[in-house]
């Protein structure tokens, strides 16, 4: 009788262990999936930039180095390994800013603004920039869920034994942080 009870307890514990382990794997996969969302958008932007440079080069005068900076940031981004999240996002933010300055200059050229090709590129780039921002937010949400799991009992025990590593939050650029009232800080992480 006592033997059966012990067997029962062991079976229940083993099932519990498997359940927790699978939950952790799933949560970790969600963070990886949301990173690949960002990656897709970054690649898309990288593909759009040569087009943009071609389109604006002939029709607008830029300060020395404005376009070169965009191109060199783009190239640096393509060469950064994608698993280096922090460096990738830091470069991406710089690229976002230099693209803004390109658009600011282009604003004062009516020919360019009337061009269909330019407007289409503009909409595509705006769309991509928005998606980068939103997928970054999704990444931080999935990261928060995963990291909370890692730290709460009894999941932390299983996580430690199978050496699950916490996922790192992506920094929000300083100017965006000021605009926003609801912040990530509530999560206390």
């Amino acid at each position: 009788m006592i033997g059966w009870i012990i067997v029962g307890i062991v079976v229940v514990l083993a099932l519990l262990w498997v359940g927790i382990y699978n939950g952790l794997v799933q949560a970790r996969m969600r963070t990886q999936e949301s990173w690949s969302q960002i990656d897709v958008q970054l690649k898309r932007r990288n593909d759009l930039i040569p087009n943009l440079v071609e389109t604006v080069k002939g029709s607008a005068k830029f300060e020395q180095g404005t376009l070169e900076k965009v191109v060199s940031l783009r190239n640096a981004l393509t060469q950064t390994p994608t698993d280096d999240h922090q460096k990738t996002m830091a470069l991406s933010d710089q690229l976002t800013n230099s693209l803004k300055s390109v658009f600011a200059v282009a604003e004062s050229y009516p020919d360019l603004k009337a061009s269909n090709q330019y407007n289409k590129l503009m909409e595509e780039l705006t769309n991509t920039e928005n998606k980068i921002a939103y997928s970054r937010q999704l990444f931080n949400t999935t990261t928060a869920t995963y990291n909370t799991k890692l730290q709460s009992f009894p999941t932390n025990f299983v996580a430690k034994i199978h050496s699950f590593k916490p996922s790192e939050f992506l920094e929000t650029p300083a100017e965006e942080r000021e605009m926003v009232n609801v912040s990530f800080d509530e999560r206390g992480l």
């Binding site: 909409e123 769309n127 939103y134 949400t141 926003v180």
Partner: protein
Amino acid sequence: MLFEQIAKNKRKTIVLFVGFFLFMGIVGAALGYCMFGEWVAGVIIAVVTGIVYAVYMFGQSTDVVMGMNHAQEITNADQAPDLWHIVEDMALVANVPMPRVFIIDDPSPNAFATGNDPEHAAVAATSGIMSVLTREELEGVMAHEMTHVRNYDIRLQTIAVALTSAIAMLANFGTHFWYFGGSRNRDNKEGNVIALIASIAVLVLAPIAATLVQLAISRNREFLADAGAVELTRNPQGLINALNKISNSEPMSDENVSPESAALYISNPLQTKKLTNLFSTHPPMSERISALQKM
């Protein structure tokens, strides 16, 4: 919090179904007894009809609701780039699949979401909302709709709409029965009883239909979706401006909106009367805006 809301919505959907079948059964029994003097047959016919209708609605709800509101589906970004991209963004950040997108040709700004679950969801926007709102404001509105999708509000609301329209249809049938069937059988005693029951049914049915909608679409749900929208966009001001613009505009044309689905919209699309405020499906806009301002 999110999961509690989802569980609650799933529970309420079941209650709604059980209530609907009970109701169909009672009506069937009454009609069956009067027409063939056999209430069991009436119950069987009513319940079978109810099941067929429910299965049909479950499969086709999106198309039926969109049809009721004269919405046209768009299938690629070029047809409405801003709307399409915003819906894409909001689906992305809410972590739900891209829903189908519909446009209602109406100058009044409004929008709603429908469907069975996040995998089979759809959003509709009026042409007015696309011209009146800025990108940021439209983002707020679509984030609100995407929260309804993620919470399974859409399933409960859509089923409520379907069942309410079934009951409205039954009530309609009862009314016609009273006018035509009733007069033909004026001398027939049995006919009078049927007519009497039909008219009582009409009297009883309408308020029940209304109560069903009330049950399903609590005002709380709109507050929750507003809060969810801010969680997604991190920008309460966008939604505040959007709600201000929507509440200060003309109601939608009666031809486009079916009254049964009015509760789905982000803001009541029909003319609002002050007196009915207590029973309205949407909380007062001023309360929603002041809740958002505190965020």
